[in-house]
């Protein structure tokens, strides 16, 4: 009996979905298919065994995609879903490839022969040789002292309390769960506090056929609840969204919205996060429950993110309905 083949057939599929600009409808189709088949989305390339690219081909993303692919351990497969109607076919084909022992053995042994075991990468820009490994500075001056792996030491700078602390340059996106398509926020971190943020948009075509208002609100809520660490309510929002897109107006919607409004914990956690003239993350979420969406221009991001802790920053981004139009905004 071929043990590897036997184990491979039982491997649960862990998709990492990367949305290209303009790929919202494709992403929705992929998410729906994954959910119905009991696939649980991966949080990082290390966890994933299926890389799904949703949306039209964007050359600006390809370097990031290659980096992500190279940091995924075998067994692994790749699927591109350009159009929502391709989802079922592309994902089924990828699943077959994932369970094919010969294919996967070839992939794995090739990696070993070329001396390139999957290396950490994933969330970081191609300019960094390795991703999660972001202990180095590529903005400031280079010190003579180098770390193992020829990574320069982190630079230091004054922090908000007047101390001199290490600075870390960590790009957020474009391959990150629940993250707007094509968005990269280049951050300078001290500890996990963002000192400086600068926004870059990848790809030129950021237009999408707009979703119906209710589905759009539910999609926004799915993203925010997921980042807020409430997967059960997020997946319920996702189910409601899919039902709405299929043409229904589910009765469950009222109960779900009531539970969100009732949650004192959510109120406590989201109030005061990402406050703008139009309210904070909590008021925006409550607004979505009433199908009220206030778009925010992407150039408002740096000011909202600077001084925020990483977890808060993620909530800020997830709580905004970003208009991804302006390219290259400095904060």
């Amino acid at each position: 009996m071929d043990l590897t083949a036997w184990l491979l057939r039982r491997t649960p599929v862990r998709p990492l979905v990367v949305t290209a600009p303009g790929g919202t409808w494709a992403r929705l189709a992929v998410e729906r298919w994954s959910r119905e088949h009991g696939w649980r989305a991966a949080h990082s390339p290390a966890e994933a065994n299926l890389l799904v690219i949703a949306g039209p081909a964007a050359s600006a993303l390809s370097a990031h995609l290659d980096l992500t692919w190279n940091s995924m351990p075998a067994p692994r497969a790749r699927a591109r879903v350009q159009d929502p109607s391709d989802a079922a076919e592309a994902l089924t084909a990828a699943m077959t490839a994932l369970c094919d022992p010969d294919l996967q053995r070839g992939d794995a042994s090739q990696a070993v022969r070329s001396g390139r075991l999957p290396q950490g990468s994933g969330e970081h820009s191609p300019s960094m040789s390795s991703c999660g490994s972001g202990m180095h500075d590529h903005g400031g001056h280079m010190t003579d002292m180098t770390m193992p792996g020829d990574v320069p030491m982190a630079d230091r700078g004054g922090d908000r309390d007047g101390l001199k602390l290490d600075q870390l340059h960590v790009p957020l996106g474009p391959v990150l769960p629940d993250w707007p398509p094509g968005l990269v926020v280049h951050t300078t971190l001290q500890g996990d506090v963002i000192q400086h943020a600068h926004v870059e948009l990848l790809g030129d075509d950021h237009s999408d056929i707009p979703l119906p208002m209710l589905a759009h609100s539910l999609d926004n809520a799915t993203r925010l609840l997921s980042v807020a660490g409430w997967p059960d309510m997020a997946v319920r929002a996702q189910r409601l969204r899919d039902e709405v897109l299929a043409g229904g107006r589910p009765v469950e919607l009222v109960r779900w919205a009531a539970r969100i409004r009732r949650s004192r914990m959510l109120r406590w956690l989201l109030s005061g996060v990402g406050a703008t003239d139009h309210g904070d993350a909590l008021t925006r979420l409550y607004g979505w429950l009433n199908e009220e969406i206030t778009p925010t221009p992407v150039n408002a991001l740096p000011a909202l993110l600077e001084g925020a802790e990483l977890a808060t920053a993620r909530l800020v981004v997830a709580s905004l309905d970003l208009r991804l139009r302006t390219v290259e905004v400095h904060g």
Partner: protein, 304 residues
């Protein structure tokens, strides 16, 4: 009261592992129900299979020794903590300082989780590791006061004496605050929801961000075992140990442990993730005074 048996050391890991698999199955069923997918009881087993065939990874300039050691440390800490947990009237070891031993082993988890974050030389991993340290600062003191309350009532740090002191009245009845705080801190210790910030999805899995294959398997197993060992200890500390009608005492220990574990898994999914920047204040301003008052009340009641 408690018979010790070295042979139990062979049974203990298997028993803990069975509970971990059952809890993980229950968790998977709850996930599937929320997602409207078919319930898959065998999900943890398939996950196990998947991680066995997955390649290990390495990251640039990783501290490989400490990184790989982290998962094994977590696993060992969880098993060692349970050495003093009685199953009915058997325990692997009946130390005179059982409660302290249990607590000391749990604290080893701090090192393990932080090392997993540090060792990978990854920004998200490191952030996750430090989040766990911050979380530890928030939950550990209330946790210790909850443990001490049970020990105070029995006048002993020996787990067998604590069980014996509950012959007439279970501790959960007259020290509910300590019990509730204990359960909360078990969730925090195993970084299970709503205290799962160290492995948050928003930082790509935090300390888990770079782990794959067998390394991930060991670490995740350690995490489930930690939750199980915390749940199992709640039984002798607050729920009368193996006491109960009809069934033999070891059976009662198992039933009660399963109940506590299921409640923890269910409760952990009901709330959004608590951020430490907000929770630490609650822990220090509300939970510590509450547990102190509870300990004071208990101390006055048992005063000779």
């Amino acid at each position: 009261m408690v018979e010790t048996s070295q042979w139990g050391a062979l049974v203990l890991p298997a028993l803990l592992l069975s509970f971990a698999v059952a809890a993980s199955s229950f968790n998977a069923v709850l996930s599937a129900r929320a997602a409207g997918a078919r319930a898959d009881l065998a999900h943890p087993v398939r996950e196990f299979a998947g991680l066995l065939v997955q390649q290990r990874r390495r990251t640039l300039a990783a501290d490989s020794l400490l990184w790989r050691a982290a998962g094994i440390t977590l696993l060992l800490a969880a098993v060692l903590a349970s050495l003093v947990t009685p199953l009915g009237h058997w325990a692997v070891s009946d130390l005179s300082i059982g409660v302290v031993w249990f607590n000391a082993m749990e604290v080893v988890a701090w090192a393990a989780v932080w090392l997993a974050g540090w060792g990978s030389n990854s920004a998200f991993g490191l952030v996750g590791g430090y989040r766990f340290v911050a979380q530890g600062l928030a939950y550990e003191l209330p946790h210790m006061f909850a443990l001490i309350t049970a020990a105070t009532a029995a006048g002993s740090l020996r787990v067998a004496d604590i069980v014996a002191a509950q012959r007439d009245l279970w501790f959960v009845v007259w020290m509910p605050v300590a019990f509730a705080v204990y359960l909360l801190s078990v969730l925090a210790m195993a970084f299970f929801g709503p205290f799962d910030q160290p492995v948050g999805r928003e930082i790509a899995g935090g300390v888990l961000a770079e782990l794959s294959g067998v390394d991930r398997l060991v670490f995740l197993t350690g995490r489930w075992l930690l939750l199980v060992s915390g749940a199992a200890m709640a039984v002798p500390l607050f729920l009368g140990g193996g006491a109960g009608p009809v069934l033999p005492d070891w059976m009662w220990s198992l039933v009660k442990t399963a109940g506590v574990l299921a409640a923890l898994v269910w409760f952990g999914r009901r709330l959004p993730t608590v951020r430490m920047e907000r929770f630490t204040e609650i822990a220090w301003i509300v939970l510590i005074p509450l547990t102190l008052v509870q300990a004071l009340v208990v101390a006055i009641v048992v005063m000779p």
